[in-house]
């Protein structure tokens, strides 16, 4: 099983599985204890400067934005971010100067809406380094290996490309077929942030709709901070135990944050707030504009509830609920501009 090629990307979040086991033994517990806290405390306690952070969800979907804003508020620095279809989370963190490294699967873009001004500016100026490239499946399987406690997962992507050359993966000759195969190294992020529709106070989480990478990502995490639309009773969890996507043993902090994914989408609950996303995309074209955005929406408010008020309050939230429920059409500045 000869090594054919070794990517030169930095092995972000890789731990020898024995070292990870030792960390788990020393830091995680099977105790069923109340893990409720505040976003402020969770960020203070679990996200030191320099952490390797991964966000649950995907793009602008199911993102723990209250935690992202709190990281900005606490001026965390030198974070390494898993650019696993990281969009508004990564872009605002970069815009606020919290980030020094990114491993990019999909980063620096807002999907259909356009590219990220802040993210691209930071990378092009050298302020943020892309230390490794991978693909979405590449990231997915880094977390699968991390969850499984093995050093790598075999895959057939990345081969033959510069993505492999700049990744942290290796290609080897598979001893079963004699053909080249990629070995995707495990990742155990220092902190994973997730927003879920409901969980109990111990951290047993249910998620509606697609899981994206979150099943594996939650299990690969060292620290897992969960915000939730609603804290429900333990009995409700136990009534349908097959609905528990993340059991409590992985969870370190639970915080009830209604609309905690805003301005991102929460499936079945509320749509993207394209107005806020659009505002960010527009003002973040300059550092000064980004700073004004944070002055207004992060530094200028004491918590997430006050931010939601600024973003339009109950009326806006009702609108987003109705758009998600297909009862109203979305409003989007980038769409309005198209009309002109």
């Amino acid at each position: 099983m000869d090594i054919l090629e070794e990517g030169k990307g930095e092995l972000l979040g890789f731990h020898d599985p024995d070292e990870h086991r030792a960390w788990i033994a020393a830091n995680k517990s099977a105790a069923l204890v109340d893990k409720r806290t505040t976003v402020k405390e969770a960020v203070e306690r679990f996200i030191p400067d320099g952490s390797y952070v991964a966000s649950g969800g995907f793009g602008h979907i199911r993102v723990a934005m209250s935690v992202i804003y709190e990281i900005i508020r606490q001026k965390k620095r030198n974070l390494a971010i898993a650019g696993k279809t990281a969009v508004h989370d990564l872009d605002t963190l970069i815009g606020a100067g919290c980030v020094s490294k990114v491993e990019a699967a999909y980063s620096f873009g807002h999907e259909l809406r356009g590219l990220s001004a802040a993210g691209r500016r930071a990378v092009e100026s050298g302020k943020v380094k892309v230390v490794a490239e991978t693909s979405n499946a590449g990231y997915q399987w880094r977390f699968l290996a991390g969850m499984m406690g093995v050093p790598f997962v075999a895959a057939r992507n990345l081969l033959g490309t510069d993505t492999l050359k700049y990744s942290s993966a290796k290609s080897v000759t598979d001893p079963f077929t004699g053909k080249p195969v990629t070995l995707i190294p495990s990742a155990n992020p220092d902190v994973v942030l997730m927003h879920v529709p409901r969980c109990d106070k111990f951290g047993n989480c249910q998620i509606d709709g697609i899981l994206i990478m979150d099943y594996e990502l939650a299990r690969s995490a060292r620290r897992l901070v969960v915000t939730t639309e609603k804290i429900i009773e333990e009995a409700e969890i136990r009534r349908e135990p097959w609905r528990t996507v993340i059991p409590y043993m992985y969870v370190d902090a639970v915080i009830e944050v209604p609309h905690g994914s805003h301005p991102c989408q929460m499936p079945y609950l509320y749509f993207f707030d394209e107005e806020i996303i659009g505002e960010w995309m527009s003002v973040s074209k300059t550092d000064e504009g980004a700073e004004r955005f944070f002055d207004k929406y992060v530094y200028g408010v004491k918590d997430f509830a006050e931010y939601l008020e600024l973003a339009g309050g109950a009326k806006k939230l009702e609108h987003l609920r109705r758009v998600e429920a297909l009862e109203e059409r979305m409003r989007a500045p980038w769409l309005d501009r198209k009309k002109e």
Binding site: G57, F58, G59, H60, I61, G83, T85, A104, A105, Y106, S107, F108, G109, E111, L112, R113, L115, G119, R120, V123, E124, G126, K129, V130, E133, T134, S135, N136, A137, Q140, L144, R156, N157, L158, L159, G160, T161, D162, T163, S171, P180, V181, G209, I210, L211, I212, M213, D214, Y215, E216, Q265, P267, Y268, F272, E324, L326, M330, L335, K338, K339
Partner: protein
């Protein structure tokens, strides 16, 4: 192009949709591929299975999604699953069609969506692979949609994000990529290409109405092979345009320019 009764986007969507066969599966992104898939379902391929990389399988899409993981991508789906599930499905060989966009494309169908210039000191940073490398590695037939010009259809990509036929015949297999996979067609605003050119290179097989070979050559940095029998694509019908605007993207998320 408005004078022709259709826009460039409508043309690209219509041409792409016709490549999708009934009762096959397509792993699509949002934007043009999504519209092509939905149009195919509403015309000649009602049994087309549309899959999204984030986990949506076989949705009854109510209105155009604006993200690959948006709740519209699993609205009344047969399954709302995960990326691990969908990517495994693709890797194991269940995906017939994949779609890719590109910032740069070379004659072998290799794609750059990562960076313009040097990787570590980029002139322009792009989003990266996303699911593109996976789609390009796993799907049986990949359809590339790109607005072509000399800066986009290049002799050599600054960075190969996603594999086409790499450096030619047999190169995918030598690299370990799955057999019977790789770029199938390239659709641009000028025409359609396959990879029947020498050593698995792009070959012009059809042009849109009113386009000349000289137009294509003028918008390509490499020498382009031309198929012996060059076809003209069928422009979108009024019915297709109506479906696109009435049923698929009434808000104009993609259709408006």
């Amino acid at each position: 192009m408005e004078t022709k009764g259709y826009t460039e986007n409508e043309l690209l969507i219509s041409v792409a949709s016709k490549l999708l066969e009934d009762n096959t599966s397509a792993l699509v992104g949002t934007g043009l591929p999504m519209l092509a898939g939905m149009l195919a379902q509403k015309t000649h391929a009602p049994g087309l299975l549309i899959i999204f990389e984030a986990g949506g399988i076989g949705a009854q899409i109510p209105t155009l999604p604006i993200s690959v993981g948006d709740s519209r991508t699993f609205h009344k789906a047969v399954a709302a699953s995960s990326m691990h599930d969908v990517m495994s499905f693709a890797q194991a060989g269940y995906v017939d069609f994949g779609f890719l966009g590109a910032a740069q494309l070379d004659k072998h169908g290799n794609i750059n969506t990562t960076v313009i210039g040097d990787h570590d000191h980029p002139k322009a940073r792009l989003p990266g692979s996303g699911g593109a490398n996976d789609v390009g590695s796993f799907a049986r037939r990949t359809i590339i949609i790109i607005r072509q010009d000399k800066k986009r259809l290049v002799e050599k990509c600054d960075f190969v994000t996603t594999p086409g036929y790499l450096d030619g015949e047999g190169a995918r297999e030598r690299a370990g990529l799955p057999k019977n996979s790789g770029p199938y067609r390239v659709i641009t605003q000028l025409g359609v290409f396959d990879f029947g050119g020498k050593g698995k290179t792009m070959r012009l097989i059809a042009m849109h109405p009113g386009v000349t070979v000289a137009d294509v050559e003028a918008a390509t940095s490499f020498e382009i092979e031309v198929a012996p029998s060059l076809e003209t694509t069928t422009p979108p019908t009024a019915r297709e345009i109506e479906i696109l605007h009435r049923e698929i993207d009434p808000a104009g998320i993609v259709l408006k320019k």
